[in-house]
Amino acid sequence: MAYSKKVVDKFENTLKNPEKFNVGRFDPKDGDVGTGMVGAPACGDVMKLQIKCKKEGNQHIIEDVKFKTYGCGSAIASSAELVEMLIGKTLDEAKEIKNKDLVEVLELPPIKIHCSVLAEDSIKQAIEDYESKQ
């Protein structure tokens, strides 16, 4: 498996220190939490991403993020990377994050691009869920 060092490091660090890398969950029923879950076990990957937001003026800012991912090493690394990109961003800024940003940062090979697509879909869904509660 020709993984970039970045993927391997991200994966291993997340595995070693899950709390530091935002593994976990919020109560999905909370009003300030948005949950997105994409993928399917039969396909080999499922990502669950949760954002916790606070309101500042007209803006909703992502205060904290938690995730859990079932999938290959690069799926897990993609989720962990995405989570770090999200913290502190406004929802509008978060919507701008695209899968190719992850591809670049993690140097994902073509065969693993779907992992980054999954990550992008999970944030979209989490934002939708949050916005539907406001």
């Binding site: 498996m1 993984y3 391997v8 994966f11 997340t14 595995l15 070693k16 899950p18 593994v23 969950r25 879950m37 994409v38 993928g39 399917a40 076990p41 039969a42 396909c43 080999g44 990957d45 499922v46 990502m47 669950k48 859990k68 991912t69 079932y70 999938g71 290959c72 090493g73 799926a75 897990i76 065969i111 779907h114 697509v117 999954l118 879909d121």
Partner: protein, 406 residues
């Protein structure tokens, strides 16, 4: 530990060459040793090479109890499978065009069958039972008037399950059908007695039995006589069945490896059996694991386990100090999870989460102990990361969830 060599538990994929084998091979390469062409009849260089090749042939024949004249050297089990299947099909095509094989065969059998389908042959791919075994009954039910060949593997490479080749042989012989067996995983692991088995062709590989890569053999029965159409032409070596200058050093290596296999089989098996039992006992302590393949009917050197709610490739990445194989799609070029596990009727997610551990001659107790320790740790950590595990603990039935496949 990360700096040292990883623990090798992938013997079913390939084995290291035994030092004793490597030493023998070195005697057949350089000017100061024996480098002759076994086909040279006019000088001693050739005679010596020929002698070495024939001695190796008798070692191979001796392990499986056949006549050395029934052994044809090939470049490996893949070529042997190709030669057997295409060789029979093309030689006997006027007799019939139906071939029976199974869904759990190695690609070296499946791909030649697919190729023959493109040339007008009709192939039946038998389903294994739940335990990963092709039953003689399944073969019997598939036999037709125009069946010319049955090709069923002896030991499945992913599961270690053993097929009843003795009973299948009785069936095929009674029906006048040729029977080919891929025995790449068998040599040195289980006894094979071709003097009693009603098998017409059998494929062997050197590198699964502590010999070198790049060499194998095909057993082609003389009585009753089996004829095959050669697939490689040019010089008429190997009684016209496989041309090409014999790779003396490779062949000597295979011969020595198979001679040692006969000597070491009892030792190897006893040792591996102990590892298998210990491993099984410990791995069963992990929640939600599934052993793939009938545990009562398999070789102890291969153990295939699915770790539910974890994806196999991430498990392999987590176990970076252990060399194992996975049925996960992500580790295969095709992005499909193991077709063998799917054929057993395992759900896709369990196929994705499978790991094959295979033990061998150089595995130590320490290797097994360290692997088990690391394994339970990594499984726990990956499950902590898994949304599926979380749902499972919350009592959610994953089969009722509407997934957003992509």
């Amino acid at each position: 530990m990360s700096k040292s060599k990883p623990i090798y538990l992938d013997y079913a994929s390939t084995t290291p060459v035994d030092e004793r084998v490597a030493e023998k091979m070195l005697e057949y390469m350089t000017f100061n040793n024996n480098f002759g062409n076994a086909a040279s009849r006019s000088h001693s260089f050739g005679w010596q090479a020929d002698e070495a090749v024939e001695l190796a042939r008798s070692h191979v024949a001796n392990l499986v109890n056949c006549d050395p004249r029934e052994i044809v050297w090939t470049s490996g089990a893949t070529e042997a499978d190709n030669l057997a299947i295409k060789g029979i099909a093309n030689f006997y095509k006027t007799k019939g065009k139906h071939i029976i094989t199974s869904k759990i065969e190695h690609k070296a059998v499946l791909d030649p069958c697919r190729q023959l389908e493109r040339h007008g042959f009709d192939v039946t791919y038998l389903e294994p039972n739940e335990g990963g075994v092709i039953t003689p009954e399944a073969v019997k039910d598939a036999i037709r008037e125009d069946t010319i060949l049955v090709s069923i593997m002896h030991i499945n490479n992913e599961l270690g399950t053993i097929n009843d080749i003795a009973s299948i042989g009785e069936l095929t012989r009674d029906n006048g059908i040729f029977f080919h067996v891929d025995a790449a995983q068998s040599t040195g692991k289980v006894n094979i007695d071709l003097s009693t088995l009603k098998i017409d062709l059998m494929s062997f590989s050197a590198h699964k039995t502590y010999g070198p890569k790049g060499v194998g053999a095909l057993f082609v029965r003389r009585k009753p006589r089996v004829r095959i159409e050669a697939q490689i032409h040019g010089g008429g070596h190997e009684r016209g069945m496989r041309s090409g200058t014999l790779a003396t050093h490779q062949i000597v290596g295979m011969g020595e490896a198979f001679r040692l296999a006969k000597e070491e089989m009892t030792n190897d098996t006893e040792k591996v059996l102990e590892f298998h039992e210990h491993f099984l006992e410990e791995v069963k302590k992990i929640d939600e694991i599934y052993i793939n393949g009938d545990i009562q009917n398999k070789v102890p050197n291969i153990l295939n386990v699915s770790f539910n709610f974890i994806e196999g490739e991430s498990l392999i990445m987590g176990l970076k100090d252990i060399a194992v194989s996975s049925g996960s799609a992500c580790t295969s070029a095709s992005l499909e999870p193991s077709y063998v596990l799917r054929a057993l009727g395992r759900k896709d997610e369990l196929a994705h989460s499978s790991i094959r551990f295979s033990f061998g001659r150089f595995t130590t107790k320490e290797d097994v102990k360290n692997t088990l320790k690391l394994l339970s740790n990594v499984v726990d950590r990956l499950r902590e990361l898994s949304p599926l595990w979380e749902m499972h603990l919350d009592g959610v039935d994953l089969d009722t969830v509407e997934w957003q496949a992509h």
